[in-house]
């Protein structure tokens, strides 16, 4: 055994009200530095799983330990990047990035330092005074990412952050994300619909099945970091993409609507 788990799901279950089980018997863990990709059919509970970790929604059964504590208590350790950028439209880029630290009562000098650091990381320093509506979709997502990084989180939760972007921008942001990870080093859960993205980014891929949501398979991704554009054309990478696609296809065939 090496380092203890930073996040650990033990037989976790979740249902909303008296609805059906959305998650059931989930066992999953992440060690410091892991980058875990979650992939699975739509509605299998990926977003719900992240929301449990963030303490935005309570468990219905089992146990979830985040940094040795309950999710709510560990909220100070984590940051969340939502599917949409969710910027406050009445604030500039700089002010948006400062929101989390402002909510936590950090003094202005500390906020300014964090802001400069993260805007530099996502290469948006020169757009600091722009309002969100003046930005492109990719730029908005980068601001959202910068905002999450501003609190120097130990755990980063990303819910399909680049899902709405075109292939080129997405690949570019993936590389950028890994670059930032080299510099800052957090543990992350990353939800995606793209097998290629999952393989490129993660150290481990969790394939989920639906109804109820559960872990179907865990696949290690032994590609060495740093990964670059070169990685995308390597034999190993392409084999893994094919393998994960097969597993994902088998889950979707088993749980998805019957093909006509």
């Amino acid at each position: 055994m090496s380092a203890p788990n930073l996040v650990e799901f033990r037989d976790v279950a979740k249902c909303f009200g008296d609805g059906p089980a959305v998650l059931s018997g989930v066992n999953l863990s992440a060690r410091p530095g892991d980058l875990v990709a979650l992939i699975g059919p739509s509605g299998c509970g990926k977003s719900t799983l992240l929301r449990l970790v963030a303490g935005l929604s309570p468990l219905s059964g089992g146990e979830l330990i985040v940094d040795g504590r309950s999710p709510g208590e560990a909220a100070g350790e984590l940051a969340f990047v939502f599917q949409e950028a969710n910027l406050l439209p009445w604030l500039t880029v700089a002010q948006n990035v400062e929101v989390p630290l402002r909510l936590r009562g950090a003094p202005a000098a500390e906020r300014a330092r964090a802001r400069e650091r993260v805007l530099e990381l996502v290469r948006l320093a020169e757009r600091a005074d722009a309002y969100p509506r003046q930005l492109s979709g990719g730029q908005k997502m980068r601001v959202s990412l910068a905002r999450a990084l501003s609190v120097s989180p130990r755990i980063l939760l990303l819910d399909e952050p680049f899902g709405a972007l075109d292939e080129m921008t997405r690949e570019h942001l993936n590389e950028e994300l890994l670059g930032i990870r080299e510099a800052t080093g957090w543990t992350a859960f990353f939800v995606t619909h793209s097998v290629a993205e999952a393989v490129f980014l993660s150290s481990r891929i969790v394939v989920m099945a639906a109804n109820p949501g559960r872990v179907h398979a865990e696949i290690n991704v032994p590609l060495a970091y740093p990964r670059t554009a070169e990685t995308r054309v390597s034999r190993e990478y392409l084999d893994l993409v094919a393998q994960v696609s097969r597993v994902l296809r088998s889950v979707e065939d088993a749980t998805g609507p019957a093909a006509p």
Binding site: A54, N86, W90, V99, L103, Y131, V151
Partner: protein
């Protein structure tokens, strides 16, 4: 460069056409019934003749309207925050707010006179009543319509209740607030004039535009009556322009109802 010019020329042309039709209608009447529709020139003359009393009346009405309107803005904001706290509070109090709005001004006017006496205070109070409803309805709606994702973002980073209110819910409600403010700014001067007709007084120099209108009508000074109507319009326009300016200053950077400047 053409556009701004058009913005001025179009309404100006429409105004000239309107005055021409008015003048034509005046002339088309027989000599002895022309008093029913004074000519634009006649109204202008009446305005000059009565300028002292009209200016005094306008200032009095403006004072009552602004006091009532301003009070409505402050009070409705506080009440809206309270109403936004829970659906139960809204369910309990909404019917009574509606009832206040349903009661016609001429009925409320004598009650106000009994309470605070005829004159400025009554006019302000009645203007307050009539401006209050659109403000409270819109602002409350805005405060409870905050994007759920942004609420969760704030929750995630441990926002305190006051931070939720000041940094998130109030700015998000601003566009709604200004919608209410524009409606209120339109009806406040009307309310002030009607209130003045029903609860005004000539004591001191307390008469407002409503009071003037009643007097001119009773003296059969029809041109002066029209002049009073025009003055009331101008007052309403000024208040609206002020509100539009404030809305523009607070929203044009970010809100989609304003054109992007960087296109």
């Amino acid at each position: 460069m053409k556009k701004p010019l058009l913005h001025v020329l179009l309404p100006a042309a429409a105004g000239v056409a309107f005055l021409a039709v008015w003048q034509g209608a005046h002339l088309s009447l027989s000599e002895d019934s022309r008093f029913l529709l004074p000519s634009p020139g006649g109204v202008w003359q009446a305005m000059l003749d009565h300028r002292e009393s009209l200016i005094r009346a306008t200032l009095n009405t403006a004072e009552g309207a602004l006091a009532g309107f301003g009070l409505a803005v402050v009070v409705s904001t506080v009440i809206s925050v309270l109403l936004s706290l829970s659906p139960w509070v809204r369910r309990a109090f909404y019917p009574y707010l509606m009832a206040l709005q349903m009661t016609p001004l001429p009925v409320l006017a004598p009650i106000c006179v009994i309470w605070v006496g005829a004159g400025l205070k009554s006019v302000a109070l009645l203007t307050f009543v009539i401006s209050f409803f659109p403000l409270v309805v819109n602002t409350t709606q805005g405060l409870i319509s905050t994007d759920r994702h942004l609420v969760e973002l704030f929750q995630l980073y441990g926002a305190r209740p006051w931070q939720n209110l000041v940094l998130l819910r109030i700015p998000a409600a601003l566009p709604y607030f200004f919608t209410g403010l524009r409606i209120a700014a339109t009806i406040a001067p009307i309310g002030a004039v009607v209130a003045d007709m029903n609860a005004g007084t000539s004591a001191g120099d307390g008469g407002g535009l409503g009071f003037r209108a009643v007097i001119f009508a009773s003296q059969a000074k029809y041109a002066a009556l029209f002049a009073t109507a025009v003055t009331t319009c101008v007052l309403g326009f000024l208040l609206n322009a002020l509100v539009l300016l404030i809305a523009w200053i607070s929203l044009h950077h970010w809100h989609d109802s304003y054109e992007r400047t960087d296109r």
